[in-house]
């Protein structure tokens, strides 16, 4: 065996990884360019708004309320070790708005929306519906990708905002009902502690995560293999890629907003 074989394999893997990054970047640029160039498909856009935004509200709301409640319990228990129980409102607010709200909503969107977009478009590819679109003089990027990416760009920040509020409400409910906090003082502490930068960072993260989730779903759907296995692989790959990229983007954006 050639002693350099493992290095060759590693090199190929790295080159393949860069090739994938390149393809995804070109796909994303193409998708964004189709958002601003006519023709536009308002019906597809409205459906995407409904599917990505409105229909994601229940899962986002439930995730946020339980997370906010659990966060309050954890901070109270942890704070009690050094007599800092009183910081529950501030830490719940900052934890939800800066980190947990956007990340959990992003991951929920990856699970719910990215998978559904990838499976739908991959099935359309497998059943020749994408080819049919082309023969009917309709660009698949314009008809399928652009409306979904634009809808995610608009609705996911809104979902993050709703998730932040519901998460804080979850913490408020637990703190005031179980931990003996005064409701008015809790709310005052929350509002006083949050800064505009916290809220802006939360919404910007939401927009970035929304775009990542939609683009990954569309990319994997459009590039799926044949048959049921191809659709399954596209769906799995899209969720994995979206989740990892969302967490990586979260790290970068946190650095941009709070470390620089």
């Amino acid at each position: 065996m050639n002693p350099l074989s493992p290095l060759g394999g590693l090199g190929r893997a790295i080159l393949n990884l860069f090739a994938v990054f390149g393809r995804v970047a070109l796909f994303a640029l193409d998708a964004v360019s189709h958002i601003v160039r006519p023709p536009f498909y308002p019906r597809e856009f409205a459906l995407a708004l409904l599917n990505i935004g409105w229909l994601s509200l229940p899962v986002v709301g439930l995730t946020a309320i339980f997370t906010g409640g659990a966060l309050a319990l954890q901070i109270y228990a942890g704070g009690a070790r050094f007599n800092a129980e009183a910081v529950v409102p501030q830490i719940v607010a900052i934890g939800m708005v800066r980190e947990l709200g956007p990340v959990l909503v992003g991951l929920m969107i990856a699970a719910r929306v990215t998978s559904s977009i990838a499976a739908e478009i991959a099935t359309m590819k497998v059943t020749e519906q994408i080819d049919a679109l082309v023969t009917l003089s309709t660009h698949p990027m314009k008809y399928l990708t652009a409306p979904r990416v634009l809808a995610a760009l608009i609705t996911v920040p809104a979902l993050v905002g709703v998730g932040d509020i519901i998460g804080i409400a979850g913490g408020y409910t637990v703190a005031t009902q179980n931990l003996g906090f005064n409701p008015a003082a809790y709310l005052k502490n929350t509002v006083d502690f949050l800064e505009a930068r916290d809220i802006v960072s939360s919404l910007v993260k939401g927009a970035a995560f929304g775009v990542i989730a939609a683009i990954m779903g569309c990319y994997y759907g459009m590039n799926s293999g044949r048959g049921a296995q191809g659709v399954g692989r596209a769906t799995k790959g899209s969720v994995e890629a979206a989740a990892v990229l969302i967490l990586a983007a979260n790290f970068v954006l946190t650095g941009v907003f709070f470390s620089l």
Binding site: P39, L47, T127, E128, Q129, D131, A132, T135, L136, S137
Partner: protein, 248 residues
């Protein structure tokens, strides 16, 4: 007229088309026959630009098919896909009138719906099918809807990809007759790919046999049985003995 000159297409090591030449005169119906995996669908998709050939030229009415306004080029075509390829999320009438609801051929929705229902009637479907969804229809009905969609914008050229695959013999006969009637009535140029010999006899003016990436024989359908070509003879007889390997 459609002309393919020395068209090559490979997928990795699999050289599907290896210098395919074919001419389809305007207003005629050409049927391409050949076994599974011989590149019939690839040839068709190369003409439409869904697949880019590695080499060779394709002309439609003397113009290079890869150049010029793509929307205007595709507006001349209608296509019936093997599995009908109807859009699951749209009701039947919107599938049929898809081209008339958007893009350069856009018409008011009421008018587009009228045309869709008219085309559905033309393929033997009742108006009450219009508001149903593709998943609610049988395979034969879906094929008819696909046919209605292919002719909705009255294209000059219509492609049929395995129009009778998966249908029972009676429904196959109905679809074959419909295709023949519609092509004759519209004066369209038609290209059909199939391995169903009953379709060939019902639809074709001319037949081309594709094997090994090239056209082995082409001629009028009336001469097919006496072609003298061993590939065509084996294909018609369905024999395992001959130049076409039974196990590929």
């Amino acid at each position: 007229m459609i002309r393919m000159e020395n068209v090559h297409k490979a997928f990795g090591e699999n050289h599907v088309l290896q210098g395919m030449n074919l001419e389809i005169p305007k207003g005629t119906s050409m049927v391409i026959i050949g076994g599974s995996g011989t590149g019939k669908s690839v040839a068709l998709k190369c003409i439409l630009g869904l697949i880019k050939p590695d080499n060779g030229m394709i002309y439609v009415d003397g113009k290079d098919a890869t150049k010029g306004d793509r929307d205007a080029f595709l507006a001349r075509f209608g296509m019936l896909f093997q599995g009908a390829a109807l859009f699951d999320s749209l009701p039947i009438w919107q599938n049929v009138a898809f081209r008339l609801l958007r893009g350069p051929l856009k018409r008011p929705a009421d008018y587009a719906r009228e045309i869709a229902i008219d085309k559905l009637r033309r393929v033997g479907l009742k108006a009450n099918v219009a508001d149903r969804f593709p998943a609610e229809l049988s395979g034969g009905m879906q094929k008819r809807v696909g046919l209605a969609r292919a002719i909705a914008a009255e294209p000059e050229i219509i492609f049929f990809d395995e129009p009778t695959t998966g249908l029972d013999p009676i429904m196959s006969g109905v679809i074959n007759d419909l295709i023949r009637e519609i092509v004759t009535e519209m004066g369209a140029t038609a290209m059909t790919i199939t391995h169903d010999m009953s379709s060939v006899r019902a639809i074709a003016d001319n037949v081309a046999m594709l094997h090994g990436g090239v056209i082995q024989w082409t001629g009028p359908v009336g001469q097919m049985d006496a072609s003298g070509d061993p590939y065509v003879e084996q294909f018609i007889s369905g024999s395992a003995e001959g130049p076409i390997e039974a196990v590929r």
